[in-house]
Symmetry: C2
Subunit: 148 residues, 2 copies
DNA sequence: CGGATTCATCATACGGACATGATGAAATCG
DNA sequence: CGATTTCATCATGTCCGTATGATGAATCCG
């Protein structure tokens, strides 16, 4: 049992990898699978889901592969994870009783629970794939510049 | 796929329920299952795991049942969840490559990733079952007192 | 003691996450 | 066009989270 489903983790790591090559070239599922140490065909399905949800774009044939659909700074970690893991299924259910807690008049426990889950989710929403990547050449190149 | 395993959610809800009866009476697995709408025997296994990990205490026979091992203010939500869901398995793996990231000299992406997961976990550590419960009679009774 | 109640545990089963291998479809290039 | 490369998809299988039902063990009470 884990708090971070493996598929979602594959997705984030693949996105970070693609961010490092954004605007440069496409990366094939084969290469991504090798670098990530993930099963090739399974990852292919995962990447395909990201394409269908608009996070990635793909092209076939030689010179084909995957790339981020937009600049890494505009893709949050939550954008990637949400494709595979429901954001907050627990929030819909009352913490105390066996009923869907009324969202208009939730019980006290429910309010606190929703607050906690929202706060826990916040860093995933606030952080972008670009930040996670750490390679800021496409935004901060002028800052880092020749000093490295 | 969900970010909050059902078993862990059962555990939290059961703990909150037990907090409402803390110092009052034990609650049977049967009653907890009914209130939570959870399968009885499966919940029994879940509660038993909480007993073995020291979060709950149990007694058999009539007048038996489950109760929190200590006051609800001293039990964090993370204490309950950690019994079932690994806290941070993702943190051990490098975000970029297929290798365990060196904890002494982690890559930049890894550092950011660890930070994110830690921040996401923080509210679970900071919040106690007592706070979630909302019934503060055993600590704040003198504050709330007759004013309600 | 003996019956009733309740936790503890085992055997079994089902569905979905995870994975593997094979096949089909699109794009590039000679 | 035909061959190669790569994504897209299907069929199949394994493992674990989840769940069900039955049985054993401990505790209370008459």
């Amino acid at each position: 049992m884990t708090m971070m489903p493996r598929t979602a983790e594959y997705a984030v790591r693949a996105a970070v990898l693609l961010a490092r090559h954004y605007g440069e070239r496409r990366v094939s599922a084969d290469e991504i699978a090798t670098v990530l140490g993930a099963p090739r065909n399974y990852l292919s399905k995962t990447l395909n889901a990201l394409v269908r949800s608009g996070v990635l774009t793909s092209m076939r044939g030689p010179t084909g592969g995957f790339s981020l659909a937009k600049t890494p700074e505009l893709i949050s970690v939550a954008d990637v994870i949400d494709v595979f893991a429901d954001a907050e299924p627990a929030a819909a259910r009352c913490v105390l009783e066996d009923r869907p807690c009324d969202s208009l008049f939730p019980c006290a426990a429910h309010r606190r629970w929703v607050t906690i889950t929202r706060i826990a989710r916040e860093p995933l929403v606030a952080t972008t794939i670009g930040e996670l990547c750490g390679n800021h050449r496409w935004t901060n190149a002028h800052i880092i510049g020749p000093s490295l």
